[in-house]
């Protein structure tokens, strides 16, 4: 595990590029978080909540038929089985506990497709916090089911109509709200991005993924995997997975959303297609134009559709410890179908990027090598996209195979 310096830098990345008005709240969060991480009482409370409410630890599952097709031994970390359907429950429960410790009574969150929004609203309902979720106006229409979930959970959903009306603008709006409400409000950020200490806080809360998986595979197979794979948008599930393995002799792969291709304009692969920049409070890789104006990202997966990446990932790329590659929309959708067909698991399109990338990387491994993939979420939310992509609106008989 690597920790940032006192001002939140991993090498050239990270830091605090935010208005002075927010610094006091960031310092408070840092103090409370550091104290909590060393407090057995916090850890016990977090563990109990994670297990009884979050359905953790998630199982490690050997994917026999997928392994047969791939020629390597594939193990899936089943974060799709968690409460609310993804690794995100770890982050929101942890930050909600920190919110309680800071004596705050309201949380705000940004969301793209609504997964983090639903998770944040869930934690807020559990703890009795007031909750406001900022969501791009376009996304509130496309993801009306998730909007309904958040509202059912008692959250207020604010459609964001500024800028490009996407996730990055929802994040801008959350930061604007926070500047005005910071006395009683915690910004429950959804990924390992943003100003210090958020990237460290979210990583520490999600690292259970890798800690559990490492112990589980040692227990089941008796040795460490040869390769560990996760998808990377902002990168919380990937940091949560990689952290346990950073000091091991294990190949680590992060798969970014390549959209139409990392060499096209329609991509969300910040590391593979972007440049060094500052966005949302951190220095990292950003998709930007020749002046440093943020470019819109594109991915079939809403959860990876963000024009930057967490600063610790930027650092792990710069040091070479983790290999970051892009996976296109088409590759991800093929992998989603392959996993469904071979294992009876419909994963999130985000997670399908990890599956696709791992299958590609496995071709360079010796037969029988151990591959661990973090299956970060389930695919129920993506069925609309799946129906459109595979053209399932046609009646089965249209295909003439009956």
């Amino acid at each position: 595990m690597t920790n940032p310096d006192l001002n939140g830098h991993w090498g050239a990345f990270g830091g605090r590029f935010v208005p002075e008005a927010l610094i006091a709240a960031l310092e408070e969060l840092e103090t409370v978080h550091n104290k909590a991480m060393e407090d057995p009482e916090f850890q016990a409370e977090f563990a109990k909540l994670s297990s009884e409410y979050g359905n953790l630890p998630s199982p490690l599952y050997k994917a026999e038929r997928l392994s047969e097709e791939a020629g390597v031994e594939i193990w899936l970390k089943r974060e799709d089985l968690n409460h609310t359907g993804a690794h995100k429950i770890r982050n929101v429960l942890g930050q909600a506990l920190l919110t309680k410790r800071m004596g705050k009574t309201r949380v705000i969150a940004e969301t793209g497709a609504g997964q983090h929004g639903v998770a944040a609203a869930t934690a807020a309902a559990y703890f009795g916090f007031e909750c406001t979720v900022f969501m791009g106006e376009e996304d509130t229409r496309r993801q009306s089911l998730n909007v309904a979930r958040m509202r059912l959970l008692g959250a207020e959903v604010v459609p964001v109509t500024t800028g490009s009306r996407t996730l990055k603008d929802a994040m801008n709006e959350a930061l604007r709200d926070w500047v005005a409400t910071v006395d009683d409000t915690h910004y429950l950020i959804g990924s390992v991005g943003g100003p210090h200490p958020f990237p460290k806080v979210v990583r520490d809360l999600c690292r259970g993924i890798g800690d559990e998986a490492r112990a589980q595979i040692l227990d089941r197979v008796g040795r460490l995997p040869d390769l560990v794979a996760a998808c990377v948008g902002g990168g919380s599930n990937a940091m949560g997975t990689f952290t346990a393995f950073l000091d091991d002799d294990v190949k680590l792969y992060g798969f970014e959303a390549g959209g139409d291709g990392a060499d096209t304009d329609r991509t969300a692969a910040a590391i593979n297609s972007g440049g060094l920049g500052v966005l949302h409070g951190a220095r990292t890789y950003v998709l930007q134009d020749e002046d440093g104006q943020t470019k819109e990202s594109h991915s079939i997966s809403a959860g990876l559709d963000y024009p930057a990446v967490g600063p610790e990932h930027a650092h792990l790329h710069a040091t070479g410890r983790v290999t970051y590659e892009a996976v296109t929309d088409a590759e991800a959708m093929d992998a989603l179908a392959q996993l469904a067909r071979t294992e009876g698991i419909i994963c999130a399109i985000e997670s399908a990027h990890a599956v696709a990338g791992a299958l590609r990387a496995a071709k360079d491994l010796a037969p029988g090598s151990l591959v661990l993939i973090n299956l970060s979420g389930r695919g129920d939310k993506d069925m609309g996209t799946v129906v459109d992509y595979f053209d399932f609106t046609k009646k089965p008989s249209d295909k003439g195979t009956e």
Partner: protein, 262 residues
């Protein structure tokens, strides 16, 4: 011309300075130059030229819309130098900019070109002194003012360190919130100015929320400068055409200038 020159003048006249903010390229590139001339003609003592940015997290709806319009019309970073060059000479011209645009241009190159255009310095709303090593070096090398922000939530230690890193003046963010004209001025502002004064002899400018001469007079009672942004932008957002915006801006500036001299 540096910020200190303007403050020497207003101090001699026994009044606060009026600082007007307008994004470059809004309502158009040519009209942003014209609007700044109007501000100066009608009594602005310093000018802040805003840099339109895709993700202005500290700005409210008015300045966001203005920035969006400038960007949609194709505003480029280097055009800020054209604007500064066109309006420099009568009062100090600073730029208020989100940091990524400067970093992307190259911190030293930006400082060099900004100074060459006749600019006085930068106000950096999302850059705190801890992250400003390159900017402090570049502003020293090119003799530019550097204005950091203090806020009501700033600790004593942070206020001391921040004002120590400033040159020209200190920007006091008077409300916890984004930019935007408000019906009432901030109750937290006088306290913040007092706290900042305990640590510096630099002038303190007070920003966020002022919309007319009466409010300007209230703020001028404790601040060394009254910073007005959204109300200026609204002159163009709320009128039918640019000439009407120019007329309204002339009236507003006259009212504000009268307010800071009360």
């Amino acid at each position: 011309m540096k910020s200190a020159d303007a403050f020497a003048k207003t101090k001699a006249e026994g009044r606060a300075a009026l600082v007007g903010y307008l994004p470059a390229g809004f309502p158009t590139l040519a009209d942003s130059i014209k609007a700044i001339d109007i501000l100066i003609d009608h009594g602005a003592d310093l000018i802040e030229v805003g840099m339109p940015y895709s993700d202005p997290v500290m700005d409210g709806p008015a300045i966001q819309r203005a920035a969006d319009r400038a960007l949609a019309a194709g505003f480029r970073t280097r055009q800020v130098f054209e604007v500064v060059e066109a309006v420099a000479g009568r009062v100090p011209i600073l730029s208020m900019t989100y940091w990524n645009l400067v970093e992307h241009y190259g911190v030293d190159a930006f400082a060099r070109d900004f100074a060459a255009a006749g600019g006085a310095g930068l106000i950096t709303p999302d850059l705190i002194p801890e992250e400003a090593v390159d900017w402090i070096a570049a502003s020293d090398a090119h003799d530019l003012d550097r204005v950091f922000l203090v806020a009501p939530s700033s600790t004593e230690e942070r206020i001391a360190a921040t004002v120590a890193a400033c040159r020209g003046f200190v920007y006091a963010q008077s409300v916890m919130g984004v930019t935007g004209a408000r019906a009432a001025t901030s109750a937290a502002a006088p306290k913040l100015v007092e706290r900042a004064r305990a640590h510096t002899g630099l002038p303190i400018g007070v920003g966020l929320g002022v919309r007319d001469g009466d409010q300007a007079a209230e703020v001028a009672a404790y601040g060394d400068a009254v910073i007005v942004g959204s109300a200026i932008v609204n002159c163009y957002l709320e009128t039918d055409d640019v000439p009407a915006g120019h007329r309204r801006l002339a009236e507003l500036t006259t009212d504000l200038a009268e307010g800071v001299a009360r």
